[in-house]
């Protein structure tokens, strides 16, 4: 036989089919929207992160130090109050000293690929117009192991740089602005030197800052243009396991002293923005569930008011207050469970529909990103159930606290 509170709770809900249905629909919509919008945000973040992180190195070693080297006088008196003023620093040649040994050592590690590069501004001149471009000189064979740019080539090939030391790879947007295409030559200049380079490849990452300002050329050509022979100012590292980036960066800094930035640091502002977006999404969609909770509160409060006499008689025949609370909590729970289950189904369907919609990327095959994870369904279910139970709790407590005698007297 069904437990008494359960059968009374279901009798209440079935007697008010329409109101119960409206409450269920409220929870269903809240959960579905939470899942669909959450999936869209997760999909967007995942897509953006993969574009950003996968396209670029996971750790970048640069010819900088985070803290200035201590003065010898300070080292000599580690416990003393030493203040050194008017220090005239040496002006060494900038670059990563011993880069070749570093690259070899890093490449020897399991799951680590490292490639040297020289970054420096260049001017690309075409038809009398100058374009400021971030010139990235790379060792093509090694760079192909550390960047995903090779997968973002829309014309030509990354490996063409290896066979043509006078080759240049540009972002498609930049090339369009310059009105150049594959096989065209452009003049690339710095304050120190210039050379005519041939366009051997075009890439498109979807990130404007890269597509409109990057120019990839061979390391030796960039060193010649910058007049910095055998100098590199960055080492790019790619990891098989992304989660190793922070400990590896710390190890490199300790060992070689150069600033070593994991991708989490490089894109910290973007990741912070994602976290903020997640919070906004969470509160916005959770608010929908809270509103749905008010629907449940309304229905159960109405039942409690309408059922005051029933509650009184159940209390008078000896039903404990806990059982009365259980009746109304079961009602909230039932609405919550059905609403959450239907909401999960609807959220999945809504997510699938959104995923079919075209993305405004210019590529007709691109659709809106969607990532429906189990965590998302779990969070939606938990919030939906919490809202349902919280909405039922107050009227349930009120019902249990009602004085049956005053209701019986009032009815007489």
């Amino acid at each position: 036989m069904t437990p008494l509170p359960l059968s009374i709770a279901f009798a209440h809900l079935f007697a008010r089919k329409r109101q119960s249905l409206v409450s269920i629909v409220g929870v269903t919509l809240g959960v579905a929207i939470f899942i669909a919008i959450g999936g869209l945000m997760n999909g967007f973040h995942g897509h953006f992160r993969s574009q950003l992180v996968e396209t670029n190195p996971h750790v970048v070693i640069s010819d900088e130090v985070r803290t200035a080297a201590p003065q010898p006088l300070t080292l000599l008196n580690p416990d003393g109050a030493v203040e050194v003023r008017r220090v005239v620093p040496r002006d060494p040649v900038r670059g990563i000293a011993g880069a070749s040994a570093m690259v070899d050592a890093l490449n020897a590690e399991q799951g680590v690929a490292a490639a040297p590069s020289l970054i420096g501004q260049v001017i690309v001149r075409r038809a009398g117009r100058d374009f400021a471009v971030t010139g990235i000189g790379v060792d093509p064979q090694r760079e192909m192991r550390v960047t995903d740019l090779v997968n973002n080539m829309v014309a030509g090939g990354f490996d063409a740089l290896a066979s043509d030391p006078n080759g240049l790879i540009l972002g498609r947007e930049l090339a369009d602005k310059m009105a150049v295409g594959l096989g065209d030559t452009v003049l690339v200049a710095t304050t120190a030197s210039q050379a005519r380079l041939k366009i051997v490849g075009l890439f498109h990452t979807g990130i404007d800052a890269e597509d409109q300002t990057w120019g990839i050329l061979s390391l030796s050509r960039q060193q010649a243009l910058q007049e910095r022979p055998r100098v590199v100012n960055q080492i790019h590292i790619r990891l098989a396991d992304l989660s190793r980036s922070i400990p590896l960066a710390e190890t490199i800094e300790r060992r070689w002293g150069f600033k070593s930035a994991p991708w989490e640091e490089t894109y910290a502002r973007v990741l912070d923005m994602f976290a903020l977006q997640d919070k906004i999404m969470f509160f916005t969609t959770a608010a929908i569930l809270v509103v749905a909770g008010f629907g449940i509160f309304n229905v159960i409060s109405t039942i409690v008011m309408e059922k005051a006499r029933d509650i009184a008689i159940m209390r008078s025949i000896g039903m404990p207050s806990g059982a009365v609370v259980a009746i109304f909590l079961i009602e909230g729970l039932a609405v919550g469970v059905v609403g959450v289950l239907l909401g999960c189904l609807a959220g999945w369907g809504l997510g699938a529909l959104i995923h079919m919609a075209p993305a405004p990327t210019g590529n007709p095959h691109d659709t809106l990103p969607m990532s429906l994870s189990a965590d998302l369904f779990g969070a939606a279910g938990l919030i939906g159930m919490a809202a349902s139970l919280a909405a039922a709790w107050l009227p349930a407590r009120r019902a249990a606290a009602a004085d049956p005698l005053s209701i019986i007297r009032g009815a007489a």
Partner: protein, 227 residues
């Protein structure tokens, strides 16, 4: 258990700026196998006395003794448990749960008590309804019954856990004279079974057929008190 119910110097005061004395110094004894009517004008404290006797309300002072045992120190849960196990209530209004059918309403106290299995609960509900001539109405909802039928269902529900004490608060108040007489006859028969029946009523004719009538005015028992 002998089924003796005793009120000892019961006093019930409604607190407030001007406290209202509902019952004052009420002492009475109710023996098993007897039907006692409590009579008096409206607002005299009849129902208040009944509710204290049935452990639905706690006296401001005084005590209710069940088989000689004090109930003064019991908490709400204990009182609820005793009500469930030993008392049956019949009110002026039937207070049947409208979503449950007749049989389910009768089974309600048995399911709450949990002493019987499902089959025994169904069988006892059928027996009770049969004894009150309601067998063919067991699947009906309360809304489909007449006033007299509903009150008989509420009597069946009151008897569900085979209580020693059956308390009625104007159980015939909402019924016509024919149905009222029928309900009183049932209560009379229950007393014959050895139960302790206490009924609040305005109806002097019905009070006449009780074994004893206690009259109460302004919260004080004026006649029918034990010597």
């Amino acid at each position: 258990m002998s089924g003796d119910l005793k009120a000892r110097a019961l006093r019930r005061v409604l607190p407030g700026p001007a406290p209202a004395i509902l019952v004052d110094s009420a002492s009475a004894q109710f023996q098993s196998g007897s039907l006692t009517a409590i009579t008096g004008p409206s607002g005299s404290g009849k129902s208040s006395l009944l509710y204290m006797l049935g452990l639905l309300d706690a006296p401001t002072s005084g005590d209710v003794l069940l088989d000689g045992q004090s109930t003064a120190a019991l908490d709400n849960d204990d009182r609820a448990r005793i009500r469930l196990e030993r008392f049956g209530f019949v009110f002026q209004f039937h207070f049947l749960l409208p979503e449950l059918n007749v049989a389910e309403n009768v089974m309600l106290p048995m399911r709450q008590l949990g002493n019987l299995g499902p089959a025994s609960i169904r069988r006892r509900a059928d027996d009770l309804l049969g004894s009150l001539g309601m067998s063919d109405l067991r699947e009906k909802l309360p809304g489909q019954l007449s006033g007299g039928q509903r009150q008989r269902v509420s009597i069946a529900r009151a008897l569900a856990n085979d209580p020693q004490f059956v308390l009625g608060d104007e159980p015939t108040g909402a019924l016509d004279s024919k149905n009222g007489a029928a309900v009183f006859a049932i209560l009379r028969a229950l007393a014959g079974d050895g139960r302790t029946i206490v009924v609040v009523t305005h109806d002097h004719d019905l009070a006449q057929i009780a074994d004893r009538a206690i009259h109460i005015i302004d919260g004080r028992i004026t006649s029918g008190q034990p010597s």
